[in-house]
Symmetry: C2
Subunit: 328 residues, 2 copies
DNA sequence: AATGGTCATGAAAAGCTTTTCATGACAAAT
DNA sequence: ATTTGTCATGAAAAGCTTTTCATGACCATT
């Protein structure tokens, strides 16, 4: 339509100053008229780059991940990428299948959240030769970049916070010791804080539920309270667990925080909406997502990473669910 | 490596029975050995199909959308598709840009959530000639398939529910009348229920906040209570609004539901975690997402849609935030 | 024995772009 | 006037598949 070759059109799109002004304008006009848009598949085929990243996530409907993804999405937008999100329902087979599909679609890299990296996963990454970054998880065995919080220390800090508020009989609703990512480290941090401050850590003070859902956490609090009724504070290893615990306490007319204090973990948006508002260990969820994608982008572009394993700082977000026993 | 032509390899992958058994096995072995995976870009280029769908969403970190996306993701998985998710932060320019990028990436279709369809959007869809489905929104002007709930009726039902529980002085925390999707219809339903049951609807009984966030809703409740202190029940037009309202009431020692009842809207997972647990108008969020993607898939595959505009049924999820005044 | 048909396979085009290389025009410099 | 260099442009290959068409081998039928 503009009486030029395909090459020239391509140049107008990628290097406009290489083509004479009159032709350029004619071409631009034709593009407008014909409603032409370049085909990213063909481009990807040549450049071996699709400007698309994959995200493997266990459960998008979980507020925790929702906020992490938000950060990822913003970061991706900033670096001109799109995100394909694969919900894997905590199923290793589905996870591997997703990685394979993403790789076939020639995405430029993948960020994997929350899961420990098993040898079969690593083997697959190696085979596919695809850049990987871990968010809210890490791997000590393999050299994979990661962005997360120091869970052991965070749990330590949460427990110490309760101790500083005068609590001596502290219970914990924890994840599974078999979960090396957000289960075990938090338990270890809890134990260490107790030990450091000369408090006894008998088996009665902790209840373990792999499932972090509200209803199970309600049950967990019930059982914990039954076997450890003298407790004055509870460290729940996620906000949802804390809310389940609070729900049980409310229903049994146990005042929070007057009678029992509760501290959570994560600082999802829910934490600010409960009654009483939840004091919790805050993770920079948005930032973790943001940084993970940024790191992936650097990795893809062959830039030197500042650090392989990034540990972002956590803090205690003080609200109204913990009472200072020293004061009154 | 297997001493065969490219065509034969292709056949093994797509039509295995067209190739002789011995060669087939040799090829399969070579594929294994070489770690070969087909390139979806090249495939997409030929078939004009990428098995990838786009999702335009205003805010992924919002629990409402998180659950809708979960349904979309499951549905996509079922039909062999992946989802590219674009967070648009409620910015029309960014929205249009996202649609353009998705189209360049040759995705097979897009589902758009929650936004009204403006003429410029529609014009773009037409130009790009791309299948579109609307989720949690619809368009009366244009012939675009949609999946949503009847908001006017749902609001009517919520209000009538309160009336049946004996409430006569009912306030509302609403969205903006300028929002034709989830703002105005809910207000209209509220008004209609009042009218139908012979209750007066003065301007004092409603407070309007375009922003649905918790903090603003706290403020909204404060103002509503100030100008309408006789109210015995509040219809909050989202769960987050309801939680903000409850927070204000709690802090001012107004018992929920003993003194003031609150009903929400959406039935996000938060609703079951608050204290008291929130009675709310439930939307089938997961199902809406699921059906929207299913509909898009049908549209793409040229199947006849059962209906252009699907209205899914809502219901009242009874929990503990509404008191029946008739009883005591 | 000759013809027709089936079947497995390979060659090549097409899908859409980018990029390299070649070409020819023109200006400038000797 | 001739050479050198610059610049705009086009042709063609490459990226990786799928699919159509052609080919040749082999079997079966008359």
């Amino acid at each position: 339509m503009a009486n030029v070759s395909i090459s020239t059109v391509s140049r107008v799109l990628n290097n406009p100053d290489l083509v004479a002004k009159d032709k350029r304008e004619k071409i631009l006009e034709a593009i407008e008229q014909l409603n032409y848009t370049p085909n990213a598949l063909a481009r990807g085929l040549i450049h071996k780059r699709t400007q698309t990243l994959g995200v493997i996530i266990p459960d998008i409907s979980n507020l925790f991940y929702a906020e992490v993804i938000r950060g990822m999405e913003d970061s991706a937008h900033e670096s001109g990428n799109n995100l394909i999100i694969c919900n894997t329902v905590n199923d290793q087979a589905r996870r591997l299948a997703s990685v394979k599909v993403l790789s076939e679609k020639q995405i430029d890299g993948i960020v994997i959240t929350s899961e420990p990296i098993y040898p079969d996963s690593y083997e697959l990454f190696r085979q596919l030769n695809i850049p990987i970054v871990l968010a809210a998880t890490h791997s000590l065995e393999y050299e994979i970049p990661s962005v997360r919080v120091n869970d052991e220390q965070a749990a330590y800090d949460a427990t110490e916070y309760l101790i500083r508020k005068g609590h001596k009989r502290i219970g914990m609703i924890s994840g599974s010791t078999l979960d090396p990512i957000s289960g075990l480290p938090r338990i270890q941090g809890f134990m260490r804080a107790l030990r450091t401050h000369g408090l006894e850590a008998t088996p009665e003070i902790r209840i373990e539920y792999a499932n972090y859902h509200f209803e199970e956490s309600y049950e967990a609090m019930k059982k914990l309270y039954a076997k450890f009724p003298e407790l004055t504070a509870v460290f729940a290893s996620s906000d949802e667990r804390a809310l389940g615990a609070i729900s049980y306490l409310h229903e049994n007319r146990i005042q929070v925080p007057e009678q029992v204090s509760v501290i959570g973990f994560d600082n999802t948006r829910m934490a600010g909406m409960s009654y009483p508002k939840l004091t919790t260990v805050a993770q920079p969820l948005y930032q973790m997502g943001f940084q993970a994608v940024r790191k992936l982008d650097q990795l893809i572009n062959g830039k030197q990473l500042e650090e392989l394993r990034t540990y972002m700082s956590h803090w205690i977000e003080e609200r109204h669910s913990v009472r200072d026993i020293n004061i009154n």
